[in-house]
């Protein structure tokens, strides 16, 4: 384990983190949109939600990634592995976020809905002032959990030739056969990233709770 392999691994870690973070933002939006679909008046939209979540959560991420990786060139979109990887990660994590947000909405106590309706709030205001703060408050721990899962899931993209930490480690191993040291260091780097993200999330949670963020007594 010399400095150059360590630098290589850290570069890979940077790519993994970047891939995860650039997938989390659109995935959050996708998840929120899907959750809205799931609560729609129209049965067809609700069925669409169930179908999407069923397929995306029932198929392994690798199979989804390979499907998109091979399907994009067939649609004449030669964008390369990184875009395909980020796309797949967004679609996959979007479904996970949709389930998380759905759980948050379902956890809102009935009195909140009734008082919002009795105040005559329009849907937009109700969303902004009642639903969103409560859902954020309820879903922050599982949301952070899914963010950590995204970082771990980015390693699967190494199999569709996205160069990130796992692929970097594998390439080094195939060159040098220093299996245990290289994978040990790679594991440590993943651990620091995931554990750190988890701690950050918990600190954020504590700070939100301290301010009595969403209606619970301080």
């Amino acid at each position: 384990m010399n400095a150059s392999t360590l630098t290589l691994l850290l570069e890979g870690a940077g790519v993994s983190l970047a891939l995860a973070l650039t997938s989390i933002a659109p995935a959050t939006i996708l998840g929120a949109a899907l959750t809205a679909l799931g609560f729609s008046r129209f049965a067809a939209l609700r069925v669409l939600y169930r179908l999407y979540v069923y397929v995306v959560r029932g198929t392994p991420l690798l199979v989804l990634a390979l499907l998109i990786f091979y399907a994009l060139p067939a649609l004449d979109l030669r964008t390369g592995p990184y875009i395909a990887g980020a796309l797949v990660l967004t679609l996959y994590v979007g479904a996970l976020f949709a389930e998380v947000f759905r759980g948050g909405v379902l956890a809102i106590p009935r009195p909140q809905w009734e008082s919002a309706k009795s105040l005559g709030l329009p849907p937009a205001a109700m969303l902004k002032k009642v639903i969103a703060p409560l859902v954020v408050r309820y879903t922050l721990p599982p949301y952070i959990n899914v963010c950590v899962m995204t970082v771990k899931a980015s390693s699967v993209l190494s199999i569709i030739s996205v160069w990130e930490l796992t692929l970097a480690a594998r390439e080094i191993i195939e060159r040098t056969l220093a299996v245990f040291t290289v994978l040990g260091v790679a594991a440590a780097i993943y651990f620091i990233m995931c554990f750190g993200l988890d701690r950050l999330g918990r600190r954020l949670e504590r700070r939100l709770m301290a301010r009595g963020f969403a209606g619970e007594p301080v």
Partner: protein, 217 residues
Amino acid sequence: MTYLGWVTTYGPTYLDALGWTAVIAVLASLGAIVWGCALLLVPLVAGRWGARAVDAYVQVFRNTPVLLPIYLIYFGFPLIGLPWPAAVCGGLALVLQNGAYVSEILRGSVKAIDRVQFDAAKSIGLSPWSAFRKVVLPQVLVYSIPSLGNQVVLLLKDTSLLSAITVTELTMQAKLLTEQTGAAYEAFAVVAVLYLVLVSGTEVLFRAAHRAVRWSR
């Protein structure tokens, strides 16, 4: 080639790969449950150091992707004189990874058991090991069935990663067929459907088991 033609031509190949996926998933699930129970026992025999060691183990496997243990065992074991077949290496990695999650699930269920049970077991003179085997473990396993079902589904999906170490399970088979025939959509669509069938089947199985066990109590 139409989808139907595809299915009839390559059906047997897929079934072969499906068999591998199912066998690895079942054996690795059983192994993970056994390993999870073993991890549960460690604090009982090794005290606080055991509890800390298990906690560290669980944290390591919760915060690292499952591909790393797979590569570690597949590439590393031959170097220390254990050239095991790829499927065994992959299965072992899945057992180690999912055993950590299983032990967490079981620990949660242990906490859900009434204290009265432990006192009653001691009062009728059961040794700690017998108490564990005859009183605690059955109840823990029953309480954990839904969560264990969840974990088994995750393990089933993780078997697709074994394609990275050349195990001929479903995903590997799809890749091979794509390379042979160039028909990516058909190959992966069929595999996706097969995974959905496996996952749904597993969920149905665990729900039925949960219902069956609850009635018998």
